[in-house]
């Protein structure tokens, strides 16, 4: 087991419009890409964000060594309950999760 953020080159998150959040995991090499694709399940990501797994869009992109997740925002951007207008911090939640490698 290892924290995703210590294995990947970079994990970043951002709004994809006011209603969606998108998280890009830049793996840095094809070896690491394979490890992360195998070690990080969509269900694990759903659990972290308390999201419905079937609503999460996952893109495994070997050409870029990137794994991307897009999910409905935990709260609509800028609503009273929202904590992060730009969706910038959510990457840390994923970066600090343990993955099986």
């Amino acid at each position: 087991m290892a924290k995703l953020g210590t294995v990947a080159q970079k994990v970043r998150s951002k709004n994809a419009g006011p209603f969606w959040l998108t998280i890009d995991i830049f793996c840095g090499s094809s070896d690491v890409y394979t490890k992360i694709v195998d070690g990080l399940s969509t269900v694990q990501v759903a659990r972290l964000f308390d999201a419905e797994p079937q609503l999460i869009k996952r893109f495994d992109i070997p050409e870029l060594n990137v794994v991307k997740f897009s999910l409905p925002r935990p709260e609509t951007q800028g609503a009273a309950a929202d904590r992060d207008i730009h969706g910038a911090s959510w990457a840390a939640l994923l970066a600090e999760t343990e993955i099986g490698i």
Partner: protein
């Protein structure tokens, strides 16, 4: 071939002057810059105002108007004034008139307006001409009518209409980020997939290259695709930087929906031309049967007052959540009792910065920090009620003990007065599309000769 010069990802973010001069020397057919986004939140759309300083906007826009005069080509801004409402367009028009007078160049300004009447959108909703996108909020006619501003996102068709006026400067209300870049290449018969794909790559300026803050890029569109070239010293585009830009702020990195169809870049090929430029081909545009434009709307969501305290005492830092929850419970009860209001009239929340303010109950990293910033958020139906409840909250945030046995503590306040009014807050209310018979049905165009 159509050559588009893009000075930066947004007016207000500045651009590299030397790179802009190189761009002018390359004789562009159009200069296109984005003026806004929803990314800074609903308040700008709700109030119909710009996020950026007027001074920055004026200085940067004056530089681009000068560049336009030298290049002798049209200059177009999309989503003027951050949100692209009519009020934001008028703000931009006012700045443009001021600059035109100072530069003594006569200019023809075409203005494309995107604001919608809530009552007309509500009627369209009742006629099933407004349909939801994925994860759209539930809406009804009443909610639509409560929006303080609604805009429709113009596509290439409306920008083309504006260009057809012969305007030197096009000030557009809300548009898609890509439409201002794609419109001229599409009109001149360039490859439609290439036009939209190049526009998406270019809409954030040099973010698709190294040295992303330099801003300025040039895109050449042709019959098969496009070539992108960043113009600042030290800025290089590679197949990786360009293709990776499709990830940025996109829920789907391969499909991009636009008015009138969608872009599919699944089979796009990215090739280095040299150390700086990248050639892209193989992108596909898929037209849709029905023409629709996306809607954005914001409505008032109450009035907010903020109060902050710093916890530095170890005992309170270790028990901060229990302390905050107890305050919220007791203060809510006091507000209901003393102000004769119900839970529907207000809400109190305390977020703990340094502990769980980012993720709330989803936080997984539990440590005990040296200090915690307690941020009390009071949201209420009226401004005066919000202030009044914040004043009820003040003594708790200053002196609330964890148990009745212990000495009354005092916590650090950052300011006097401690209560900070935030005024009216807003929320995004629409994630929908409006179906149109004719692309110009939801938009208006006017022309002003200035100077």
């Amino acid at each position: 071939m159509v050559r588009v010069l893009i000075p930066s990802g947004a007016l207000g973010l500045n651009y590299d002057q030397e790179a802009l001069r190189r761009g002018i020397a390359a004789k562009p057919d159009i200069i296109a810059i984005d003026g806004g986004s929803t990314d800074s939140g609903p308040s700008y759309l709700g109030r119909g105002v710009s996020k950026y300083a007027r001074s920055s906007t004026k200085i940067e826009w004056a530089g681009l108007m000068q560049a336009r005069a030298e290049a002798n080509c049209p200059l177009v801004i999309g989503t003027a004034g951050t949100c692209g409402t009519d009020s934001a367009v008028d703000w931009m028009l006012d700045i443009t008139r001021e600059i035109a007078a100072e530069q003594t160049h006569p200019v023809k300004i075409a203005v494309l307006r995107s604001s919608q009447q809530p009552a007309e959108i509500a009627a369209a909703f009742e006629e099933n001409r407004v349909t939801p996108l994925p994860n759209a909020p539930d809406i009804d006619a009443g909610l639509i009518n409560n929006c303080t501003n609604i805009v429709a996102l113009a596509g290439a068709e409306q920008i083309t209409e504006a260009l057809n006026t012969g305007g030197d400067i096009i000030i557009a209300g809300r548009t898609t980020d890509t439409a201002i870049i794609a419109a001229l290449p599409l009109q001149k018969g360039c490859h439609p997939g290439g036009a939209w794909h190049g526009a998406k790559i270019g809409e954030c300026g040099a973010l698709c290259a190294t040295n992303p803050q330099s801003g300025v890029i040039l895109i050449d569109f042709d019959a098969e695709g496009f070539t992108v070239t960043p113009l600042a010293d030290g800025a290089h585009a590679s197949p990786h930087t360009v293709s990776a830009h499709m990830l940025y702020e996109n829920a789907d990195p391969f499909i991009l929906h636009e008015p009138g169809g969608y872009l599919d870049v699944t089979n796009a090929q990215y090739k280095s031309v040299d150390d700086t430029s990248v050639r892209v081909s193989g992108s596909m545009w898929v037209p849709s049967d029905q023409y629709s434009v996306k809607l954005e709307g914001a409505r008032g969501a109450g009035f907010q007052t903020v109060i902050m305290a710093l916890l530095r005492d170890n005992h309170y830092v270790a028990n901060a959540r229990a302390w905050a929850d107890d305050i919220v419970e007791k203060c809510c009860a006091k507000a209901r009792d003393r102000l004769k209001i119900t839970s529907d009239d207000f809400a109190i929340e305390i977020r703990l910065m340094g502990q769980s303010a980012s993720f709330g109950t989803l936080e997984t990293n539990h440590i005990t920090p040296a200090e915690i910033g307690a941020v009390g958020l009071v949201t209420a139906k009226s401004e005066s009620l919000s202030h009044e409840i914040a004043k009820l909250l003040n003594p708790y945030m200053l002196h609330h003990p964890l148990t009745i046995e212990e000495e009354v503590p005092t916590f650090a306040f950052l300011f006097s007065p401690a209560e900070m009014p935030r005024g009216e807050i807003y929320e995004f209310a629409l994630n929908h599309v409006l179906h149109l018979e004719n692309p110009m049905d939801a938009f208006t165009l006017e022309v002003h000769d200035v100077g």
